[in-house]
Every structure is written in C-alpha cells, then in structure tokens.
C-alpha cells in the first residue's frame, strides 16, 4: 500500500475502498472478541468459510471476524448485513442452515433470533433487541461493523477523518478548546477533565512530551477497554494522535496488559498498518506532524493501572507508584510532561472532533457528558458490555438493558467502580449514573465495572473479597496500604468465619480512615471503600455476623449449616447418593440426616433435593435441630419416590 501524502489522497483511497464495497452484498459479521472466541466463535467463522466455499458463494458473500458488540451473554454473535439480522449463540452446526435459508432464500431462522424471556417477543434485528436499543452506542456500535484487523474497514466507516480535520483545519489550541467545551472526563476512574490535563502538558516548558494509552484494565469483571482495543484499535490510535498533536508530543505508548493477547495482537497490526498508510511516522499526511507509537505489555500488576506506577513500569523499573504532588502531565514519564488517558477516553476524542462539542454535549448530564461503557456482570440476565448515556439510572441499566436478575431472585446491591468502588443498595437504584452522583453515594464511576448482586450475596464477604484482592495487589511500598489493608482483611476474614468481636467495626473504621487519608496512591486511598460502602448500607449484616454469628444471606460457610427437614424428606436417596463426603445417612425408606461433623457445606444436597420436596435448607445463627430418634425415621410411602 503506498503511503498517503495528503488529505486529498486519503479521500481518494477512501473512495476507492468504498467503491469496491457493494452495500447490497450480504456480509456475515461474526464477533471475534475474546468472549465469543471462548464460546467457539473461531469454529463458527471456519464453518462459514467452509460452507461458503462448498456452495461456491465466495463471490457473493463476505464474512468477517469483528470486534465485540457487547451481548456476551448470548455469544457467539452473528450479524448478517445489509438486513442486520442478528443470530445469537450460533454453533458451527447452525451454519449450513443459515447459508441455505438466510443467505440463499432470505429467510430468518426463528430459532436463532432473540426471544425476550419476559415478554416472549422476538427481535430479528440487532437494533430491535432491548439489550441494545436501550443503550446509546456511540463508540461500541462500530465494533461489529468492522474487521478488527482491517484498516480498510476503518477507513470505510470514516476512519482518520478526525485526524485529517485536526491536522489541516485546526490549530492545537482549537482542538483543545473543542475538547474543553465537552468537559470530557477521564474514563479510567478519576474523572479528571481530559482537556485540563492536556493543557497542562501543552503549556509545560519541556519540549519533549509523551502521550500514553492506559490499557492496563485490571478490575475484576471489567473488559470495556479490552473490547475497544481488540475491536477497533484504529479508533484508539486516532484519538491518541489527536492528543499528541494537541500537546505537541511526538511519541506515544500503549500500555496494555499481557493478559490481553488479542488486544496486543490487534493493536500491533493496527500500528503497522497505520505506519504503512502514513498515519504514523514522519510528516503524517503531509502535515509535517511526526508521531510514533510503541506497545508496552504490562507484567500483570493491578497497581500498574495507576498512572505513576504505569510510568515507572514503562521506564523499566518495578511498577510502584510515586508521589503525585507534582502531576504527571507536568512531570511524568522520564520526568517529561505526559498525558495518560484511558482507552475509552481516547476513543471519545475522534467522535468529538468529527461531530463537534455541541453534538457530544447533547448526551449526558450537566457535569458528565457523553456516554460510558460498563461491563455489566454478576447476577444479571444480560451479561455484557453496555454503553449508556451519562445520567441513566441504575434501575434502567439493570432492568431495561440488563434484563434483571436471573431466577426471580431479589436484587441486593450493585458494585460500581471496581475494587476501589462501593456497593449501592436498592434504595439507590434511581441514582443517575455519572461521576459526581456515584461519588456522592459512596461509590465511584471507576473504569466501568458494574457487578450486580442478588439476595444470596453476603455483603461482608463481598468487602472481604475486594480487600483480599487489594491486599494481594498492593505494591507494598507504603505502610498504610501494605499493613493496613492486610489488617482490614484479617478482621473481615475473622468476621465471615464467625470470629468477629465487639469493636471490630470501629477498628475497621479507624484503619479505613487512616488508609484513605495517607496512602501513597489511589489504590491505597480507595482500598477501604468496599468496606466503608457496605458498612454504610448494610451495617446490620456486619452486626449479625459479629453478634449473632449469623450470615443473613446464608453464604458464609463457617456460619451456616445444612439441615434436612424430617417432615419434608421423602427418603429419595438423591442427596445421600450425591453427597461427596458421605455426610448423609439414611436409606430407601429411612429419612435422611446430615452428619454435621462430616458436612463440608458444598451445597450439593440442596442442589439435588427435588424442588417438590424442598427438604434441605440452610440454617444460620441458630442451632441445628437434633436428629429425630432412629425409630421415627422410617416412612411407609418412601418407596415410590425413588
């Protein structure tokens, strides 16, 4: 491919690409994101290629592996253009029928389209599925339209037009003003206005400056950045280039975690393509702007998502944070002014420049503009990535987009903001999701993790889980984080194991206050949040664990017992046969009894007890009733229930 040397040449090439595309020609897009690949998307893609070849349809049908559109719950996802027919959970054996019916006969396969479990209404097109049509998909919607490894596909959807506009029609000051007007806030967690960060670096006297993409996404259950970097890497590069032009940087880095091999692969391919086309290198598009990008793979430390730790790691040292009293946009990587933004922040930049600040500001709330991508996970029907306008309520996200809680269970809490965030109860469901509202409620936006919890979740254990994660991921440099978080974890573990004592809550609060107040970096400063927010909204659960040795959610193993109700047991042998520790005694016509000393609380008996008997139950905070005398255990009608 010859290098593009001017804006006119760019448009010429774009037109050539578009002229070769027949918009009426069927195109089968198959999500090739990590989630769908794990569900067998690679086999589905291979099956399509094989079937198309077998039928001699190569000239009539295109296939492409695309980025993640977000509906991970129903992967592998296939969308057939131009009709935009969306097939879910497609298996290789479905492929011949799809080709025979949908491609050749233009018929929709009812069994593969979306069926709403609550209304029983079906939806043929992607845009008709409630999961999608309740979102505002400004950024992520392109993922399914392009082959993640093809720069031609990116150019075909208008790619690099924002870069062209910036380089040839705008001064860096004008770009800064435009971004400033949107008050675009950092999507990585802090919510700091991106334009202010850029301005600081731009005005810093040092001539050498850097821009960095923070793709060290590490929150448990969060994968927004992965999906963007895997699915649409050129979008991130374009945003980064615009940022570099604005602040005057000539070098950029993409810090991506090693655990994201596909993102690393796709972004490396994208950089190579951009270099070949002349979007990277010297004299980009003939504008005299020079810019190069390198990929740096993180070694797996969560703390390296913190900006100063990330820069220290980039410099080749152990990834430990440094004091931030002088901001890194003034003194960052190699002590030079450095703008570090999250993947999603950079992804917003080309959209803003293409469509203008006013367009961007039409989405969102007063102080939080645009959209935010969340990874909606946990006890939720529609697990996946959702992009919503700022200001949508938690209730709308969970029930309208997410489809509610599985198994008709009750909603208990939603955890936002990753390990540093907090848990919000049902009384907060009408909270409008935006930076300030979440912080005021005792949680935070964070990078966009959203974990839904149902009635069976123990909130003390949730706090313990996150503190365990953070204790493990603390770099160990400063005392409050290394030692304080460890002590908090010890106390929380004791509470969940029935060894809680009076005074524990107060000690946890004291530790929390000091850790928040004087830890070195954001990891430590926010580490007490999981405890503080669960205490704020679920204090009674802490008290039940400590005072009554009771886990109200019936979750903490050390605080629960399994019991077979002799009135209900039909001696069906199901639990007796399945118990892995031989803790169930009894027989064919003899009521079953759990030997509490042998029971490992694995829940198997409860799982296998037929719902019509419903004889096994969990008990907490009260003694297990003694077994009934042996002579009363025989039942006459037991034999029919084998």
């Amino acid at each position: 491919m010859p290098r593009i040397n001017s804006p006119d040449e760019l448009e010429k090439i774009r037109n050539e690409i578009l002229s070769q595309k027949d918009t009426n020609k069927p195109c089968i897009s198959i999500c090739a994101g990590t989630g769908c690949l794990a569900c067998g998307a690679a086999e589905v893609i291979a099956a399509f290629k094989e079937e198309i070849e077998k039928q001699g349809l190569e000239a009539d049908v295109d296939t492409k592996g695309t980025g993640c559109p977000g509906f991970c719950e129903r992967g592998p996802i296939v969308v057939i253009y131009p009709e935009e027919i969306c097939y879910l959970q497609v298996k290789p054996e479905d492929v011949p029928e799809i080709i025979a019916q949908t491609i050749k006969e233009n018929k929709v396969l009812e069994r593969l389209i979306y069926l709403d479990p609550s209304t029983n209404e079906s939806a043929t097109r992607e845009s008709e599925i409630p999961f999608y049509n309740n979102q505002e998909r400004l950024i992520i919607s392109n993922n399914i339209k392009i082959d993640s490894k093809s720069i031609e596909d990116y150019l075909a959807i208008g790619g690099y037009s924002a870069l062209k506009k910036v380089l040839f029609q705008m001064t860096p000051e004008q770009v800064l003003e435009e971004v400033k007007k949107t008050n675009l806030r950092g999507r990585g967690g802090g919510g700091f206005p991106a334009a202010l960060k850029w301005e600081g670096s731009r005005n810093a006297p040092e001539p050498e400056k850097y821009v960095i993409v923070n793709a060290d996404e590490g929150d448990p259950g969060a994968f927004m950045d992965r999906a963007l970097l895997e699915g649409n890497p050129h979008l991130i590069l374009e945003g980064l280039m615009i940022g570099a032009y604005t602040i005057g940087a000539r070098e950029g880095y993409i810090y991506v975690r090693q655990e994201y091999p596909l993102a690393v692969e796709n972004v490396k391919i994208a950089i190579k393509q951009a270099e070949e086309y002349g979007f990277l290198g010297n004299n980009i598009l003939g504008s005299e702007f020079d810019f190069n990008v390198k990929v740096h793979q993180g070694a797996g430390a969560f703390v390296c998502g913190e900006s100063t730790a990330l820069m220290t790691a980039l410099e080749g040292r152990a990834g430990e944070p440094r004091p931030k009293y002088i901001r890194s946009n003034i003194r960052g990587l190699w002590e030079k002014p450095t703008v570090l933004n999250n993947v999603e922040t950079w992804a917003n930049v080309p959209l803003i420049l293409n469509n203008g600040a006013d367009w961007f500001n039409s989405y969102g709330t007063d102080r939080s503009k645009g959209t935010k991508i969340f990874s909606l996970v946990g006890k939720i029907n529609n697990t996946g990535l959702v992009e919503i306008p700022m200001g949508m309520t938690l209730r709308e996200i969970i029930y309208k987009v997410g489809g509610g809680i599985p198994g008709n269970k009750m909603f208990k809490a939603v955890q936002t903001g990753g390990p540093s965030g907090g848990c919000l109860p049902d009384s907060m469901l009408d909270l409008k999701v935006s930076f300030d509202e979440l912080t005021e409620a005792g949680s935070m936006m964070g990078s966009g993790g959203m974990i839904v919890m149902d009635e069976e979740t123990c909130m003390v254990d949730v706090a313990r889980y996150f503190l365990d994660f953070l204790s493990d991921e603390s770099c160990g440099k400063c005392v409050p984080c290394r030692e304080g978080v460890k002590q908090m974890l010890k106390i929380l573990t004791n509470i969940t194991q029935g060894r809680g004592q009076a005074g524990d809550i107060e000690l946890l609060e004291e530790l929390g206050e000091v850790i928040k107040g004087i830890s070195l970096c954001a990891l430590g400063q926010t580490a007490p949040n999981p405890f503080l927010s669960t205490l704020k909204y679920f204090r009674e659960e802490y008290e039940a664990h400590i005072k009554d040795k009771k886990c109200p959610a019936l979750y903490c193993k050390e605080l629960i017992s399994y019991y077979i109700d002799p009135e209900k047991c039909q001696a069906c042998m199901a639990c007796l046969k399945k118990c892995p520790s031989d803790a169930v005694t009894g027989g064919k016509k003899t009521i079953h009894i759990i030997d509490q000393d042998k029971c490992t609380k694995c829940n198997t008996c409860l799982d296998v007890c037929p719902p019509r008997f419903n004889a096994v139950r969990k008990i907490s905070g009260e003694p297990v009733p003694p077994p009934i005398p042996e002579e009363e255990r025989t039942i006459a009608r037991g034999s029919k229930e084998k």
């Binding site: 703390v303 152990a318 002088i326 493990d472 160990g476 440099k477 005392v479 460890k486 000091v514």
Partner: protein
Amino acid sequence: MSKIPLIIDGKEIEAEEGISVLEAARSEGFEIPSLCHHDKLESYGACRICTVEAEINGRSKLVVSCVYPVEKNLVVTTRSEKVDRARRLILELLLSHAPDSEQLRNLADEYGANKDRFEKEPSFCIHCGLCVRYCAEVKGKHAVGFINRGSSREINFIPELVASECWNCKECFPLCPTSALQAAYVFTAAQVSTTPVFEEDTN
C-alpha cells in the same frame, strides 16, 4: 533559587524552592518523625509517619512532608489530633512486625501507640528501604533489593554480590531501624559462603 515563604506551626519561614516540607521544617528546628527518610537519599515517601497537616487555599489535608515540596503561603501544622492519630496507627501496624525496635518503641511512647494492638508477626523488617536505597544510590552496588509485592514483600541480598561486595562495606547495617537487615545478610552470606560468617561478625 528563589525563597518560598510558608508558615510552620505558626512561625513564618522562608525555604529554598524545591525542597520538601520535612527539610524546611527540620532546618528550622521543628521535629517531625521519619523512618524511611535519609539525608543522602532521594525522598521515598513510604513510611508515611512524617505526615503533617497542610492548608492550601483554605483547605486542610494530610500530606507526607518528606515528598511534599514547599509551596508559597502553605500553612503547615506538624502535630494535630489528626496527625497523631495517623502516626499512632502506623506505629501500631509496624510494631506487629518489629516489637523490639528501639526507634519504634520510643515513638510509640510519644504517640501513645499500643504495641500489642495487632497480632504479632515478627518479620522485623518494616520496609523502610533504607538499606536497598543506600546500596543503590550511595554505593551504586544494588546488592540488596526488594522481592515480591504487597504484604509478602521482603528485602533480600543477592548472594553473588554479597560474596564480592558486602564484607568490607556493611554501611547499611547501622541504618536499619529494626536489625532485620543484619539477619537477612547473615542468612544470605551463610548460604553462599563455606566459612561461618557469624563467628567473625561481632563488631
């Protein structure tokens, strides 16, 4: 270098631009405790015991004085209820590892820290990093370093370097506030050397 005016505990002082609040305070005779600070070494900001209250634009917050640069019109309070509470808890956390450290015990007396508040885990080392940084920054040897992270972080001598570099140096020994360093050294030296090092190691 220009002079920066600031107030420490009510006293108006002027400090060199670029120095830390800790340095400015100590040069004026104010006492601020520290465990990981050393005049010959880059400020590290790990022990957090030199935390003070600083008022900027009418808003007061806790800052770590060894890494906080002096700022025009900064109002610093070196001791307050908030500061003492933070220092006390830090001491209590560290005393679980090094209950017999003289330096820690003296500070514990001053701040009313309870050395038995947290369960004892006598690993001795409090991760001040003085040995590691002194060896790297002053001696340029890198014979001792940190390994692991988080609560399993520890100091470790590099056996190969111990054999060649450490015997005639040992300058890090007196820096250690808990004597853990000597223990780590002797342990490593014993592993690489056939001569029983502990017999000679009496000074």
